[in-house]
């Protein structure tokens, strides 16, 4: 039961967080909301992921799987709240302007993200024998992400001023890179949430490309952006300037990502065509992909 100390850690973190903020800061900017929600939902969904210990869930196998898959989706959503909160924080510090973090549009997107955290998980479970209405809800909710998609495209047209870019160049580069990964992730998520496409991609490396590939890109870039931001506030000689590692990281991740997608499509085709096959055959056929990995 390794989960208990982990949960305890989150509890203490949450207690500390709310104790430091509640009543002390008025008119929370959106990233305080995001961090707060992230912590609370993380605690709930991490617990939920372990509900299988109770016979009530365990005895009903399909329900047990549904609840486990639900929790995976939602605790990733909670984690995203924490990470995107950080991205927002860094961005408003770079721009030296916290107004955007309190605006109407910003909160609209916060609530849209929350909708997907709460209800979007069910596209993980399209292929499980759950009742169709759960799958309908999932389909409808997932498609709201198109709004985020359009928003990102629109947002690319507006950018920072050259001076702001230069002063925080490393942090800014990482934020831009994370934008790319968010975009890639979203495109995949949108396509994979359409049941007919999900039918093929579920249970293949395409899922991995989405859940790990792009997410590694997003989380790492945002965390490195905040580190770079902190470093940029230090004396000049400590400021990170080398760009090679930045390109190496993003470049190799990109190759990894494309390979996973190719591999996944191959697995999908193989599985549907060889119901009695042995997985070893797929592996031998796929050796070139592994080597490229």
């Amino acid at each position: 039961m390794f989960i208990l100390p982990i949960l305890l850690g989150w509890f203490i973190f949450g207690y500390n967080y709310f104790k430091s903020l509640v009543g002390k800061v008025k008119d929370w900017p959106v990233y305080y909301w995001m961090w707060g929600i992230g912590i609370v939902f993380m605690i709930f969904h991490l617990s939920e992921a372990n509900f299988w210990v109770f016979d009530y869930f365990r005895k009903d196998y399909v329900k047990d799987l549904t609840v486990q898959w639900k929790s995976y989706g939602s605790f990733v959503g909670s984690w995203n709240m924490l990470v995107y909160g950080t991205a927002f924080y860094v961005l408003s510090k770079i721009k030296d302007n916290t107004n955007i973090a309190r605006g109407r549009v910003t909160f609209f997107f916060f609530f849209l993200g929350l909708t997907n955290l709460m209800f979007g998980w069910a596209h993980h479970a399209y292929i499980l024998p759950t009742l169709p209405w759960i799958r309908y809800v999932a389909y409808a909710v997932s498609m709201t992400e198109w709004i985020i998609f359009i928003r990102i495209i629109y947002g690319w047209r507006k950018s920072l001023t050259p001076r702001e870019k230069k002063e925080n160049s490393m942090a800014y580069m990482f934020i831009r890179a994370s934008d790319f990964w968010v975009f890639a992730n979203l495109v995949m998520a949108l396509l994979m949430s359409i049941p007919t496409l999900n039918f093929f991609t579920h249970g293949t490396h395409v899922t991995v490309a989405h859940s790990m590939g792009t997410t590694i890109g997003i989380n790492t870039c945002i965390l490195l952006a905040s580190v770079s931001f902190i470093l940029s506030k230090l004396e000049v000689k400590h400021r990170p300037t080398r760009k090679l590692p930045f390109y190496m990281f993003n470049g190799s991740l990109f190759v990894f990502w494309i390979t996973l997608i190719a591999m996944g499509l191959k697995k999908a085709v193989w599985e549907l065509n060889n119901p009695d096959g042995h997985i070893g055959e797929l592996h031998s056929e796929s050796a070139p992909y592994y080597i490229r990995l």
Binding site: V62, V67, P129
Partner: protein, 140 residues
């Protein structure tokens, strides 16, 4: 300003309430599978499945490691089935470890996998793919 803060708080409350109701429905509602509850033997089998990390290499309904096969329907597969599974467990192969299960444990694992098989199909080869993006999956 105060109006905006109040609106945000209210919206959050509504979200949390709807989410709570939805969660309770998911927890207490039915599923589309006609399988009964797991038998105690099958539950023992599930425990062996977890304790031996079968899922790190094998999938059920497509979830799990990609080294081994998806085992959702291994029992009802006319070319595989119970005895095939039992034989596999203690024999191992190039890439699957050799286990030392007793007859009883092998039977429990088979009971578990039979139960899983009972709940549905994966891959759901007979599902109907609609033009509107919807998939009607076939239930057992």
């Amino acid at each position: 300003m105060h109006k905006r803060i109040r609106q945000n708080k209210l919206t959050l409350m509504i979200f949390i309430t709807v989410c709570a109701v939805y969660t309770v429905i998911v927890y207490s509602g039915k599923t589309a599978s006609s399988a009964p509850y797991l038998s105690s033997q099958a539950m023992e089998g599930e425990k062996l499945w977890q304790d031996n990390n079968c899922a790190s290499c094998h999938q059920i309904y497509g979830l799990g490691g990609y080294l081994g096969d998806d085992l959702t329907n291994v029992i009802s597969n006319p070319h595989k089935g119970e005895n095939y599974v039992k034989a596999f467990l203690n024999a191992g192969s190039k890439s699957m470890p050799k286990f030392n299960f007793t007859e009883e444990e092998k039977e429990q694992i088979v009971q578990f996998l039979s139960h899983v098989d009972w709940t549905g199909y994966y891959p759901n080869v007979d599902a109907e793919l609609g033009k509107d993006g919807w998939v009607s999956i076939k239930y057992k």
